[in-house]
């Protein structure tokens, strides 16, 4: 036997003492033996082997015989879990929330359909290793602000450049739906009618935009025979062609019932494929969402209800309500100041949902395969299946339990460094107190 049998190599990650170096491309096939495979797509497979090669999962069976060039890891009793996927983040686009110089997620102006997240994704951001150390290996990086914020990109949380890190671009176009709220307070200056007109106008502006895209597309495709004149370039309209003509996903950020209703009506009218993000009130409109086949990304489970009169644990229960009604959904952590750094708490959102009625398997699915389906990357990631990317992690503890101990992680077969800035500081100051004779550190 000249295949390299590596037993318990799992603390390797912690021995790095400098900045995290991106993993090397998978050169040799790797066989993980005897793990508990949380496939997500089917049931949990206990004591199975998983073989991956050139970044792809090639076999999942019991007792796979390894070829000589295969690295074999004994992972008996350890849990193999597909990457958690964060569907809405600003990863790579912001380093420090309050420092303007480090913010790249919101371009100036109302309509920015043409801006792309991945081109300004900073692969050396400190958020990346911190996020992935809890098993979130894939995140959708999303522009914000304005009416149309831009195009998001699904990123793998490892790589030398943004190009290497991009898993899918564009993953979608992001629209912030206008507020449908009418203010009646005594100090409100605008009349109800004025307010309604303003709301209608912002929706009409979106309609106009869609019509212009269709016209623009027609004009560039069908050159006029009558003249040499051609359509002059318009980056904004051009960038929307895939979403309007090819019906790629448009993510509509909307929480309130009237917003959701209005966004769905708009999508139907304009024949577009939308996904609702935020969706606090989605449980009030499940029929509408199901009828129109609209998936929902629940922006944060661990939050307080929008309204005082709502059940105090409504946000915790929202995923189980949607599940029971049959709405397609996945879960997210909250984004924006001061929360952009805690994408790593994504599993907590799923566990909280599970504590309030969502089946544990379904909870796991809502941060893996369901997310992949909604982002349109389920042919590559989201579950442990043959042919999919070898993007998963090995854990001492099963998924959906607090205090995970993650031993090793792979992104497309590349072993990922699980160390990070925080662990390094921890070690550094442990040394301080060790020198002072405090050995319990």
């Amino acid at each position: 036997m000249n295949n390299r049998l590596v037993v318990f190599l799992f603390l390797v990650g912690l021995t790095f003492a400098n900045d995290q170096i991106p993993g090397e491309d998978q050169k040799r096939p790797i066989l993980l033996k005897g793990g508990v495979l949380h496939t997500v797509s089917t049931e949990v497979l206990e004591g199975y082997d998983i073989l991956f090669s050139k970044g792809k999962i090639v076999r999942i069976e019991k007792n796979i015989m390894a070829s000589p060039e295969t690295d074999v890891y004994d992972v008996f009793g350890k849990h193999i879990i597909p990457s958690y996927i964060a569907p809405i983040t600003r990863i790579g686009l912001v380093e420090i929330g309050l420092v303007k110089q480090t913010r790249d997620y919101a371009e100036r102006g109302t309509y920015n359909p043409n801006v792309k997240a991945n081109v300004s994704y900073n692969p050396d951001s400190e958020l990346i290793p911190i996020t992935r150390s809890n098993g979130v290996l894939i995140a959708n990086s999303v522009p914000a602000g304005g009416r149309i914020s831009g195009q998001s990109s699904v990123m793998m949380l490892d790589g030398w450049t943004w190009e290497q890190a991009t898993l899918k671009h564009p993953s979608g176009l992001h629209i912030n739906w206008p507020s449908m709220r009418i203010n009646y307070g005594s100090n409100i200056k605008k009349s109800e009618k004025q307010q309604r007109e303003e709301i209608q106008k912002s929706i009409r502006d979106l309609d106009d935009m869609i019509r212009n895209v269709r016209a623009y597309f027609q004009r560039i495709k069908q050159r006029s025979r009558l003249s040499d004149e051609r359509q002059k370039a318009d980056l904004r309209l051009e960038s929307m062609i895939p979403f309007v003509i090819e019906q790629k996903s448009i993510f509509v950020h909307a929480n309130e019932a009237r917003q959701i209703k209005s966004a769905v009506d708009w999508a139907r009218k304009n024949d577009l494929k939308i996904i609702i993000v935020g969706a606090s009130d989605s449980w009030r409109l499940t029929d509408l969402l199901i009828k129109n086949n609209i998936p929902v990304i629940i922006d944060q489970v661990e939050k307080i209800p929008t309204r005082r009169f709502e059940p105090i644990h409504l946000p915790y229960k929202l995923p189980s309500i949607l599940k029971a009604q049959g709405v397609q959904f996945c879960l997210n952590t909250i984004i924006g100041y001061p929360n952009d750094g805690n994408i790593r708490n994504l599993p907590n959102e799923a566990m909280r949902a599970s504590a309030y009625g969502l089946d544990k398997n379904e909870a796991l699915r809502s941060i893996t395969l369901s997310t992949a389906e909604i982002l349109g990357i389920d042919h590559m990631v989201g579950s442990l299946d043959i042919g999919k990317d070898a993007t998963f992690f090995i854990s001492e503890t099963p998924p959906m339990e607090m205090n995970p101990k993650i031993l090793m992680a792979f992104i497309q077969g590349r072993e990922v460094d699980l160390n990070n800035h925080q662990k390094m500081l921890y070690k550094k100051y442990q040394e301080k107190y060790r020198r002072q004779g405090q050995l319990n550190q």
């Binding site: 009646y184 307070g185 307080i304 001061p338 929360n339 607090m402 921890y426």
Partner: protein
């Protein structure tokens, strides 16, 4: 001395005309007798068909058998009702805005107790008319600007209104600027502190002036200040202080100030008084209540009802009962038309109040005798009696019948015309009896649909008889008489018949003239109107008022059992005993009595809870909260140690209830972090359903918020240039403050030690800001310091040690792990986040191992929320210390129980399950550190404030209530009550960190 000043300052305006006359003399007679009226001499008393003699603006006589004096001209008021002129108890006209900063004014232009509203007022003709058309003949004129707005006075609403008293009461408003220059105060916190300091200043000023005058050789003269002088005098004379209320919270805040300074309190009501009547119980203020009821909530459109809180929907239904609530609680009130957008709604709304059960005489009193008494006018106004001012309201029917019209008012003996008497209407259908036959008579107005001019009418009419329509001609209507003719042939008579009749009480009686026959009589009775158009009189709201009002509010207080026994549960004592499986715990009279393996009590003597499978922990404690507060930051000055969170507690905050649902029982409600030395914190217990004052954890020592770093040097927002701008400056600011405090203490000590000084020297001025700092120096006030970086943490421990005090807790303290040894040596606690980082530059080195690392370095560590939502899952926050740094579960739970209790020096009372401590505990359905465990019950002081069963019940109750209310609103015709709009703030985003939104200072607390 006081008396002398009084004469100068309060010259009652007895002399009316002193100005020269520059035209021919105008001397209309001023002697009148009004006869035959229905005279309402006082609420509940009336004289039918009596007379009033008016002479020179006064009532000379009133009664049934009065002989009109020979020189008096008689006016017949047959059919009219006469009331004493109403007193508008709150009338605002724009105050003269004095920008000139004379040397004698208070340094803050918003403090103007010396301002008198009657010195400079401008009542518009239109407004004057509107008030008189409601029957008001005099008014209390109120100043409109500032915190101490100034003094009210009385004006008569005659043409060319004049002041008749210039100083009735002082007005205090809790308003603060949120826009424009960042001047103090810019928050409710600051306003209340400012009010308190100003009261102390006026006390001091009067005393100091007295001493300077008595011992001029011993003292430097102090500068004269008219604002403080006025305020001091108002107090010395026991003048009322009117608090302008904007909601139920401002009422209880006003009561706190009233108690502290022993004021005579009046309240200009907000309409929400019914929500916390108990806050007035032992004070009994006088109320001036507007009746601007909310307009009908707009719930008809798709999902638009979601915008309204349950509280707002309920208010729509209950608001007109506000006076009834006050009346039933034996409070004294007057009614004002203040706040009504359309003054014409005043009488409609009075009608509602009466329909809903408030006695008419009470309403009348609230417009006449009660305000007269309160304003000191009871000997001249409010009644129709000999010697009273001839202020009268003449109505063509009963005033409280909204259909009747105010014909005129008499102001000081002069009649001012309002509108013509009601002309009886002949329009409509009548059943006519003439010559033994019944006919149908119909009279219409041809101009009715074409013009709004009700004075001009063109009448047309017809008679129906045996299927025929016979037109009338020569119709002539004048006041209550009518005449018309018909062609008699059409009804079987000869020639034309002319009818002449008088209308009285829906009946026309008269005679006919026929060319052939002589006079005969006829009678026509008005057909009763179709009742469906009539608006049904409103009845009192059937809803009960919750405490606090709105969703999840309580109808009555929770019961408090004498004893509670929990059997066979897992007790996470957080004390020396650690975690005990299958133990018993007994609570008696709100305290923990016994913790033992097996406790038995006599049957029926305790509430017994079967604890098998359940886990009991102490109530969780949040050492850094901004919940239950209406105001967070007073960020204008770098030291605001005078402001107090206890002044701005908001017992209505639903997060109190939600956090109870997460097992939280105690919270340290802190001021924000806008300034190096911020405001005083308050520790509360989450006794949902209590008043603000009852939430306070009485045994908790006082404390204060400090802050360091980016926030206090204002690094993260633009447009500010306040000192300090660097961490170097921050250190100096704190040192400077404590040096000032030492000097202040020295001066005070000197003064109080020397009894001769106390007699002959001006006392040191009481300074609330420095008082708080002295308390820190004396170890009586705990310092909780917002901090991040190791340098500043180290710095503050050194500064504190230089001044001889200790920091109680560093808050956030995300680099605490770097100097854990120093923190431990100093003896401070550290209250931190489980895993926050990244949001600002100074947290770049924040690590989730911070808490466990400091714990292992012997620092007393707690985990806090600083967030409304995080505060309801502190148990799982604590659990993160197991993942990051491997604390044991017991150690982890202590981060949110006994450790914060120790940090707040309340561990004698709470924080662990040990005998003699408060019965604050949580029943969990599983291990408390597991994300899958839920709170079943939360108890405070032996009272169950949360349980899943109750929660479900409240949820269902409120769901049904909303449904019913929305249904009621939809089935209510018209606009319901118009006039003012309620603030619909139910969608106010509560997701953010509370410090982000409040006060617009832009100061974050993270």
């Amino acid at each position: 001395m006081l008396k002398n000043i009084l004469y100068i300052i309060f010259p009652f305006l007895l002399v009316a005309q002193t100005e020269p006359n520059e035209n021919l003399q105008k001397n209309s007679p001023r002697v009148w007798t009004l006869t035959n009226g229905m005279i309402h001499t006082a609420p509940g008393d009336f004289i039918k068909g009596g007379s009033i003699v008016i002479r020179d603006g006064k009532i000379e006589a009133v009664g049934r058998y009065i002989k009109s004096p020979k020189d008096a001209y008689e006016i017949n008021l047959e059919g009219a009702h006469v009331y004493a002129g109403f007193i508008e108890s709150w009338l605002e006209t724009k105050s003269y805005n004095d920008k000139s900063k004379t040397k004698r004014r208070h340094w803050d232009l918003k403090v103007r107790p010396d301002y008198r509203s009657v010195d400079n007022f401008d009542l518009k003709e239109k407004d004057l008319k509107a008030l008189r058309s409601l029957g008001f003949t005099s008014a209390q004129l109120a100043p409109t600007q500032g915190i101490f707005r100034g003094q009210t006075g009385i004006v008569s609403l005659s043409d060319g209104p004049r002041a008749i008293n210039s100083s009735i009461a002082q007005v205090i408003d809790f308003k603060y600027r949120t826009k424009g220059a960042r001047t103090y105060p810019r928050s409710l916190l600051g306003v209340i502190a400012h009010i308190r300091q100003t009261f102390y200043d006026s006390d001091w000023y009067l005393k100091a002036q007295e001493i300077v005058q008595a011992y001029p050789t011993e003292n430097e003269p102090i500068s004269s200040n008219s604002s403080l002088e006025s305020l001091g005098l108002s107090r010395a004379l026991n003048k009322p202080f009117i608090f302008v209320s904007s909601n139920e919270n401002s009422n209880s805040r006003a009561m706190n100030i009233t108690k502290e300074f022993d004021l005579t309190p009046w309240i200009l009501g907000s309409g929400y008084e019914y929500r916390n009547l108990d806050s007035f119980a032992d004070i009994n203020p006088f109320f001036i209540i507007p009746i601007n009821f909310p307009s009908k909530p707009n719930v008809a459109k798709y999902m638009s009802d979601l915008q309204y809180s349950t509280k707002e929907l309920k208010h729509w239904d209950i608001a007109p009962d506000n006076l009834l609530y006050l009346f039933n609680a034996n409070h004294n009130f007057s009614i004002t038309s203040h706040g009504l957008k359309k003054k014409s709604d005043f009488r409609k709304n009075l009608q509602k109040i009466i329909d809903r059960g408030l006695n008419k005489d009470i309403v009348l009193a609230a417009l006449t005798t009660i305000p007269a008494e309160a304003l000191g006018l009871e000997k001249s106004n409010g009644k129709i009696a000999r010697g009273y001012n001839a202020n009268l309201v003449i109505v063509d029917g009963e005033y409280f019948d909204p259909k009747s019209k105010v014909v005129s008012v008499w102001v000081e003996g002069k009649e001012i015309y309002i509108s013509s008497k009601k002309t009886p209407s002949f329009l409509g259908e009548w059943s006519l009896k003439y010559d033994g036959t019944a006919y149908e008579l119909k009279i219409v107005d041809l101009l009715k649909d074409q013009t709004n001019n009700i004075e001009n009418k063109i009448y047309s009419g017809s008679i129906y008889y045996q299927g025929k329509t016979i037109d009338l001609y020569n119709i002539d209507i004048f006041e209550s008489s009518i005449s018309f003719s018909i062609n008699g042939a059409l009804i079987g008579h000869k020639g034309s018949i002319t009818f002449n009749g008088e209308l009285k009480d829906d009946q026309i009686i008269g005679t006919t003239k026929n060319t052939n026959i002589d006079k005969s009589s006829f009678q026509a009775d008005r057909k009763t109107k179709d009742n469906s158009k009539e608006i049904k009189p409103e009845s009192r709201s059937s809803l009960s008022v919750y405490k606090p009002e709105g969703a999840y509010g309580l109808i009555k207080k929770h019961p408090k059992p004498n004893a509670i026994l929990i059997n066979d549960a897992t007790l996470w004592t957080c004390g020396p005993k650690g975690t005990l499986a299958e133990w018993d715990i007994l609570f008696v009279d709100g305290k923990i009595e016994q913790v033992a393996p097996d406790i038995t009590v006599p049957q029926g003597s305790a509430v017994v809870i079967e604890g098998a499978g359940k886990h009991i922990t102490p109530g969780l404690i949040d050492c850094h909260s901004h919940s239950a507060a209406s105001s967070i930051n007073e960020g204008t000055q770098y030291i605001t140690s005078e402001v107090r969170m206890r002044d701005v507690i908001d017992p209505n905050d639903i997060n109190i209830y939600r956090q109870l649902g997460g097992g939280l029982t105690t919270a340290n409600v802190l001021h924000g972090s806008a300034n190096p030395i911020g405001g005083q914190n308050v520790v509360i217990k989450l006794r949902w359903g209590s008043n603000a004052n009852e939430l306070i954890f009485k045994n908790a020592p006082e404390g204060i918020k400090f802050a360091l770093g980016e926030n206090v040097k204002q690094a993260n927002w633009s447009g500010t240039n306040r000192y300090p701008q660097t961490r170097m400056g921050v250190e100096q600011v704190i040192r400077d403050a404590f040096r000032a405090a030492l000097d202040y203490k020295h001066a005070n000590d000197n003064y109080s030690r020397n009894s001769k000084n106390q007699r002959t020297k001006t006392p040191p001025r009481k300074d609330l800001e420095l008082d708080a700092l002295v308390e820190i120096l004396e170890g009586k006030r705990l310092v909780h310091c917002h901090s991040y970086r190791q340098d500043e943490i180290l710095m503050l421990t050194r500064v504190a040690e230089d001044f001889g005090f200790k920091i109680a807790t560093f808050q956030h303290v995300l680099e605490g792990y770097k100097v854990a040894d120093r923190i431990a040596e100093h003896g401070a606690g550290a209250s931190t986040f489980s895993d926050w980082w990244q949001y600002k530059y100074e947290v770049i080195d924040a690590i989730p191992y911070n808490g466990s690392m400091m714990t292992k370095s012997n620092v007393l560590v707690s985990y806090n929320s600083d967030d409304d939502e995080l505060a309801r899952r502190l148990n799982t926050e604590a659990a993160k210390a197991i993942q990051y740094g491997e604390l044991s579960p017991n150690e982890a739970l202590k981060l949110v129980t006994i450790n914060p209790a120790k940090q707040l020096k309340i561990d004698k009372y709470v924080g662990s399950l040990e005998p003699k401590k408060d019965a604050d505990f949580v029943i969990w359905d599983g291990e408390p550190l597991s994300i899958y465990s839920k709170v079943e019950e939360t108890w405070i002081d032996g009272i169950r404030y949360f349980s899943q069963t109750d929660n479900k019940m409240l949820e269902e109750r409120d769901y049904q209530l909303r449904k019913d209310l929305i249904q009621k609103i939809l089935s209510t015709k018209g606009n319901g009550s118009s006039t003012s709009n309620i603030n619909n703030s139910s969608l106010k985003n509560h997701e953010g960190h509370s410090c982000d939104i409040i006060d617009n200072t832009g100061v974050y607390d993270e």
